[in-house]
């Protein structure tokens, strides 16, 4: 029985990984896969409903929606991945140093992260993006500023739990220096929860990047980005709903896929946590 559950979880992980990998490949090869140039305007063909030539219709400049959704996948997914990688690496490194050494450095950095955590994240990101100006890179920086404390807190608490274990004492007695202890003993033992949080965060970050772009603070036109595409189409929701439905559905499907993957990664890496949640 137990084994069947395990096997089922593994199967789920494999299937979801294939879907997500497919998504990443499509996003990566977007410029080769698009049926039409997503940036060429054809005003005589504007706002065509979905048909055989334009499967998802065209927007108000006559650009093919399918091509723009595929192209937008590249912008949105890869910026979200970059963002998650940046905050995971920076956040966990800061957290690990704080947790391991403690002391004044720890107190100072943790108070700073408290400030970031206490501030409404999106508002802060809007402010930062507003100051630095538009552009997807600035949106990533703005979101990175507000999102790293979560990982710092998580890895700090994990390190504090781990550093008092007997096997860390044993490593000290084996003559290992602090660097070896952190990299060889602490990091592998706390990587699980951090990885789970990172994967679960991809979906959130996709939404936040799309959100900033929707507000005009992320990707600047004409760059194809799901959030800004929805923003451009929102005035036509009644006359040409496909313009907003296509990128909306893309965001929905992608976020659901990444969240399911995150949940499954958690179930595989940390079965205990699953029991608590259910």
């Amino acid at each position: 029985m137990q084994k069947q559950v395990r096997d089922y979880t593994k199967l789920k992980l494999i299937v979801l990984s294939i879907f997500v990998l497919g998504l990443l490949v499509v996003a990566g090869l977007a410029s080769y896969l698009v049926p039409y140039d997503p940036y060429v305007q054809d005003l005589s063909n504007a706002l065509q409903p979905p048909d055989r030539i334009h499967i998802l219709g065209t927007d108000r400049y006559g650009r093919d929606m399918l091509s723009r959704v595929i192209m937008g996948a590249q912008t949105t997914i890869y910026s979200a991945l970059l963002l998650v990688v940046v905050i995971t690496v920076i956040g966990s490194m800061v957290g690990m140093v704080c947790g391991y050494y403690g002391g004044i450095l720890d107190s100072v950095i943790m108070r700073i992260s408290d400030i970031f955590l206490a501030f409404p994240g999106m508002v802060f990101a809007i402010a930062v993006a507003g100051v630095t100006g538009g552009g997807i890179m600035n949106a990533i920086i703005a979101l990175a500023c507000i999102s790293w404390p979560k990982f710092a807190r998580l890895s700090r608490s994990q390190v504090i739990m781990t550093k008092n274990m007997d096997y860390i004492a044993a490593a000290k007695l084996a003559g290992s220096n602090t660097g070896i202890i952190i990299v060889r003993h602490i990091l592998p033992n706390i990587a699980g929860p951090i990885l789970i949080t990172a994967v679960l965060d991809i979906g959130t970050m996709i939404m936040e990047i799309a959100g900033l772009s929707f507000l005009g603070l992320g990707a600047a036109p004409p760059v194809a980005e799901w959030g800004s595409m929805m923003s451009n189409g929102r005035s036509m929701i009644q006359t040409a709903p496909w313009v907003i439905l296509a990128p909306g559905a893309a965001i929905f499907i992608t976020v659901v896929l990444f969240n399911l993957l995150g949940d499954t990664v958690r179930d595989v890496l940390d079965p205990k946590q699953k029991k608590v949640n259910e």
């Binding site: 274990m165 007997d166 096997y167 004492a169 044993a170 490593a171 000290k172 007695l173 084996a174 003559g175 290992s176 070896i180 060889r184 003993h185 592998p188 033992n189």
Partner: protein
């Protein structure tokens, strides 16, 4: 005989909510080469704190520790590394003392590799060590959760022996094991002590085990050493009230 470990006026105070609590109170003792000394006492009597100070896992507030004639407390870098070639420790919970993500073999080899042996030499030495503690070579590939407590403790002893230390501190090394396994580990320690001329500091609350293994016993109570003598002498003729109580609780 020459002393391998000399402890003078060792003191450690912990603060809990700013209230001082003296865990180890000015204790002094010494261990001679090849001798096995036991520290016994109830939980909270300062035994483990003493062990941790001796292995430099925590710092004392006062006092000196001479290991093989050299003062190592506050040693850093190279000196600290040299310190750990002379003293090693076996922990109470064998499974917790091995990194769950490393095989037992890797755990044993860590110190050997840190002291500059190549991977091949280290592997050879590791197999030798496993033989010494009567474990089959295939245990090198197992992970801590895949072996029994007794087997894991044998591996922990192998790890402690890896760089041929002069003194091994056993912090409740047999307490988490069941009685028959306890006896096996004690026999193994006895054998190793005789064969290698090892000195042992055996921390325990189990007077039965201590009587079987040790040459001398220190009784600790509330951070102080209250009585000292040979195991037989202390068990048959305890002077302090606390020792009497401790003995009564063991030999009901």
């Amino acid at each position: 005989m020459e002393a391998i470990l000399e402890v003078k006026n060792l003191t450690k105070v912990f603060y809990k909510n700013k209230v001082p609590f003296t865990a180890v109170d000015q204790i002094s003792f010494c261990i001679k080469k090849g001798e096995c000394v036991a520290i016994v006492g109830e939980s909270g009597s300062g035994k483990t704190t003493t062990a941790k100070i001796l292995t430099q896992l925590i710092r004392p507030d006062a006092g000196n520790v001479f290991l093989d004639g050299t003062e190592y407390i506050h040693a850093k870098g190279k000196l600290r590394k040299e310190f750990y070639t002379k003293i090693q420790m076996v922990f109470q919970m064998p499974q917790d003392s091995f990194d769950p993500r490393h095989s037992l073999g890797d755990g044993i080899m860590e110190s050997i590799r840190n002291y500059g042996m190549t991977k091949k030499e280290a592997q050879k030495r590791m197999i030798e060590l496993l033989q010494m503690v009567e474990l089959a070579p295939e245990y090198a590939k197992r992970y801590p959760h895949q072996v029994s407590g007794g087997q894991c403790q044998r591996a922990a002893i192998a790890r402690a022996l890896a760089i041929s230390p002069k003194l091994i501190v056993c912090d409740e090394a047999t307490s988490a094991l069941d009685v028959t396994v306890q006896a096996q580990i004690v026999t193994l320690l006895k054998k190793l002590k005789q064969e290698m001329g090892l000195s042992l500091l055996f921390i325990s609350h189990d007077l039965g085990v201590v009587q079987n293994l040790c040459d001398r016993v220190l009784v600790m109570y509330q951070g102080k050493i209250v009585e000292e003598g040979t195991p037989n002498c202390i068990i048959q003729n305890p002077k302090e009230n606390y020792t009497k109580k401790l003995i009564e609780s063991v030999f009901l």
